[in-house]
Symmetry: C2
Subunit: 200 residues, 2 copies
């Protein structure tokens, strides 16, 4: 059985899965799943992921795996995308948890409100912009000293952070004050298999 991805093409969390599969050269079928039509809340979908979220991958043997960064880990194992050094491996996970806890809930949610819900005057946006700028500042500080996350070689943490950062403008974020972030995005784009996320 071919790997099947249940995902929304214009979702960064889903686009991460496309990127890791393309970068590692795996064959897969993409089943476009529309979150705005509640296709993640059907009984069939909830059997794959009781938490009702995309992305989900169904592996060759029929096992389902959810949470974008856990999926990155699964396909990254055995490749140079996971550092062989123990501390670097933990630091890669540190940035992946930073991505899901600090970066995504600000930058991706602002984009979701503006682009998917088309509510550019939503009262939550100013606070999300402040928090998102803080996350970008933390990234800028790191990238002023290192080529990638966590260190000098591209890892799963780069793929995770690339997903919403390269479309941060759609969330209302201006990357002009973050030159190290912009240079890092270009270094990510140079890797075969890293593609731009399509517009919603």
């Amino acid at each position: 059985m071919t790997i099947t991805v249940y995902g929304t093409a214009a979702s960064g969390n889903c686009h991460k899965v496309k990127i890791v599969l393309d970068v590692t050269g795996r064959a897969y079928v993409w089943r476009e799943t529309d979150i705005m039509k509640a296709e993640t809340r059907t009984r069939e979908f909830l059997r794959l992921n009781p938490n009702g979220k995309v992305p989900v991958v169904v592996l060759e043997d029929g096992a389902a795996l959810a949470e974008s960064n856990a999926i990155l880990w699964y396909f990254g194992e055995g490749t140079p995308l996971i550092p062989s050094d123990r501390l670097r491996r933990a630091r890669m996970l540190q940035w992946m948890f930073f991505e899901q806890y600090t970066h995504e809930p600000a930058i991706a949610v602002a984009r979701f409100i503006r682009v998917f819900q088309q509510r550019v005057d939503d009262p939550r946006l100013p606070e999300l912009l402040t928090r998102g700028h803080r996350a970008l500042t933390v990234m800028e500080q790191h990238l002023a000293q290192h080529a990638f996350f966590p260190g000098e070689h591209m890892s799963l943490a780069d793929l995770a952070l690339f997903a919403y950062t390269h479309r941060a403008d759609e969330g209302g974020f201006d990357l002009a004050p973050f030159p190290a972030v912009r240079a890092w995005l270009d270094r990510c784009r140079a890797l075969a298999g890293v593609t731009e996320m399509p517009a919603p």
Copy 2:
């Protein structure tokens, strides 16, 4: 140099670190850090974690590591707390990302507002209660079929989810409708080194 933990004893994310160090039998020094007095925003602290959050551990060689679940990973390596099977390892991470993305932002944040900020009438609480109940329901469904997360043996995902679940009452959550969750909490408590989080 002894391992140093910068943490707030009554924070679940910090209590996870205490638990994994106690469970794996490591010596460490605990440096109590008061988030309510902005002790995570000092210049000295930001050198350890530019993201300005506890917990942070400083390892024997002086290297700093942040993000509670990345710290769990670091100390869990080479122990039975990380499954040896590739799919199970990814599923463990699935539950750890569920914890940080879906569980903690509802259950821990509700507790923070009620207990640390003492705002029991905060307008955000009803929505947080709804989301937290949904997370507990996802856990209950899993635990009706499995002893632990992700499967039949205790893993880092159990330690991560134990931290805020066993104090969910302080966030306004009633665990009475979740018998499988309550039985699982008792199975976690049976492991040497797993302790209750102190009151704030």
